[in-house]
């Protein structure tokens, strides 16, 4: 008899920090906060929208009754798909509970130069480099730029970044912008890559990232962009950077309540405008280091808070934007590898949907594509744990154990031949003998990371040549028009 009765299997590890009761309690804490404290919304149109839905508005403050919140949560989609622009499906993203996609992060001012290894300002050329390298990395499920371009017209870093990145990777991009105008330019490019607006709605090819200000403030541009994305059915993130002990309570539960509350404003706005549009929340959850006054990206609390927040966000039926693979270190070293390993594994176990900041160093101030390359390997290691242990007759191999018997070996067994390839293979971690290691130049992990990154930089072409000429022209046109727009917005002399 092959069937079994009352038999439980786990397809993956069962990792959890909060009980159902604890999640419920934090959820209720959010309901209480939004009802009695409310949030500031610096956007008249948005306040109008909330008022119409039944919220109390007092100046910029909006108080959200719980039914407005539960109504919004009732219309968020359980699943959304995001497609690579080239029509392939391998890199398709399914935004659904328990599926994790890792990627870099947006907008640090600095970047580690891949040639000199020195920290410098982020340049336009870096955006296409990061896109191309991530396109080649199998564990980067979506892409962000790791920087904010410093050498283009002031106010257009967002638009140039997307224009360059989208043409250098088919992996879906998570974009950002200064304001709705930038958001619109980026969306026009997304449409150009999709073919038409209708095709974009059918097969969205990027995600937009927007950020309220912690604690409990949605500034004009944040909510303005959020509303634009909802109108245009652009899958979007609306999540804060909550700083434990700074912008939110020092207690983790308090942090979760505030972080959830500030994101919820975007969820409500998006669902009121376009019920069923994809909205993802979460954001950076870590602590303020009270000695060095930095927002710690390597703190173990980041892993704990992000995993707990993932559970609360999933409890609300929303997809989670988490983080990992980041560090407080200034330059690639043991600290960066250790901090990244811990957060990557915790994020993987938590089942967060989008996990960003893989490649953030110096507490989020410097983008480092070397770190992204290292993180790619760490993510693939964490995937091994995610896969769990398959238990059945074939995998238990009781017959083979009997065939080999005590003192024998399994190297000649067909069973071994059939299964050994399931073992994880490193690309950066070294397992050679001491002698081989010496012979090959005594390279450290850092040397190998640099080598692999530079190899991708110099030899991996990416999809640039595959970009349809029509889309290419359209993107150049949008860039020109954006330059004209900025000229009009910024009077002469003001930069």
């Amino acid at each position: 008899m092959k069937t079994r009765t009352n038999y439980t299997t786990y397809q993956s590890p069962q990792f959890s920090i909060l009980s159902e009761d604890q999640k419920e309690r934090i959820y209720n804490g959010m309901l209480r906060t939004l009802q009695y404290t409310g949030a500031n919304v610096h956007h008249e149109g948005a306040r109008e929208l909330f008022k119409k839905a039944g919220c109390k508005v007092d100046g910029v403050r909006v108080y959200f009754p719980s039914e407005v919140i539960t109504n919004a949560l009732a219309t968020v989609p359980p699943v959304t798909e995001i497609f690579p622009w080239d029509g392939t499906t391998e890199k398709k993203i399914t935004v659904e509970k328990n599926r994790s996609y890792f990627g870099p992060g947006p907008t640090p001012p600095n970047f580690i130069d891949t040639e000199t290894l020195e920290r410098r300002k982020y340049l336009r050329k870096d955006a296409s480099l990061v896109a191309r390298v991530c396109d080649a990395l199998p564990n980067m499920g979506y892409v962000q730029s790791l920087g904010s371009i410093s050498d283009v017209t002031n106010g257009l870093a967002d638009v140039y970044e997307f224009a360059d990145m989208v043409r250098n990777t088919t992996t879906p991009i998570m974009s950002w912008s200064f304001d709705k105008e930038g958001c619109r330019d980026i969306h026009r490019m997304g449409i150009a890559m999709a073919g038409s607006e209708e095709e974009f709605r059918q097969r969205p090819n990027y995600i937009f990232y927007g950020e309220p200000i912690s604690p409990l403030v949605s500034d004009y541009h944040a909510i303005d962009k959020c509303m634009y994305c909802a109108e245009n059915r652009i899958p979007q993130v609306y999540s804060p950077c909550a700083i434990g002990g700074g912008t939110v309570p020092a207690t983790h539960a308090g942090q979760l309540v505030v972080a959830l509350s500030e994101s919820m404003v975007g969820v409500i706005a998006s669902q009121l405008i376009s019920p069923g549009t994809c909205v993802i929340i979460g954001g950076v959850q870590s602590i303020l280091d009270m000695q060095y006054s930095i927002y710690s990206y390597g703190a173990p609390e980041l892993s704990l808070l992000s995993a707990a927040h993932t559970e609360v966000v999933h409890h609300c039926g929303l997809p989670m934007y988490s983080q990992s693979g980041c560090t407080d270190t200034k330059k690639m070293d043991m600290q960066s590898a250790m901090e990244a390993s811990l957060s990557i594994n915790a994020a993987m176990m938590s089942g967060a949907n989008f996990v960003h900041d893989n490649g953030y160093t110096e507490s989020g101030l410097t983008g480092d594509v070397f770190q992204t390359v290292l993180d790619d390997e760490l993510i693939s290691m964490a995937r091994v744990i995610e896969r769990g242990v398959e238990v059945n007759e074939e995998t238990m191999a009781v017959e083979q154990i009997n065939n080999v018997g005590p003192g024998g070996h399994y190297l000649y067994e067909d069973h071994t031949m059939n299964w050994f390839r399931e073992h994880w293979r490193p690309t950066l971690m070294n397992r050679s003998s001491y002698e081989d290691w010496v012979q090959q130049g005594e390279k450290t992990l850092k040397d190998r990371v640099i080598e692999k990154t530079r190899d991708l930089r110099d030899n991996y072409e990416g999809p640039r040549a595959k970009v349809p000429a029509r889309a290419d022209e359209e993107i150049e046109k949008i860039l020109k028009e954006a330059e004209e727009r900025i000229k009009k917005e910024q009077p002469a002399g003001k930069k």
Binding site: G407, Y412, M417, F420, D436
Partner: protein, 215 residues
Amino acid sequence: MSYDLGKITETLIQGKVDRLTELTQEAIDSNAEPAKILNEGLLPGMDNVGEKWKNGEMFMPEVLRCAKAMSKSMDILRPRLTEGELGSAGTLVIGTVAGDLHDIGKDLVGMMFEGAGYKVINIGIDQPNENFVNAAIEHKPDVLGMSALLTTTMPRMGEVVNSLKEAGIRDQITVMVGGAPVTEEYAQEIGADLYGANASTAVDVTREYFAKAKN
């Protein structure tokens, strides 16, 4: 028409044990010279396998299957080859020293030597020193291999080297040692001739050693 030895090379690389045995027999039946079958059919195949292993294109279970195929084929060829034709493919006696029950390391080395065309006599685990000496006298191997996985059993290897000296056969035999805790320095310290960091380099260093000795 001469026999297509490329087929033999290809089948060996694929690790098809039974098929390679058939082909070896077929080659002999169609009057291919045994030395040619070895030198132009089998050895290039194993060289290719070794290369692929080094480059991460092939893995241990596959390599061992190829080695097994090679070994079965050699069983057919060996009686048909002269001493000279056997070339570097000599005889290896291998075992794990007294007090040590570890099997796999030495077996792996044995399999890799079979893959290189050697006749391998595996005397087993936990072998008292005199058994190594007796096996050396009985089989007159080109190489005597000793394995130890425990730091506590490693000294047995040096004792065997001394026993070989006492028996007056030390200079007739090449001594190879290996095992996870063994190092090149240790091998030299106890007066062994060869040390391989792993199964495939054990074959490589042995080949190099004999090639040098010839010149």
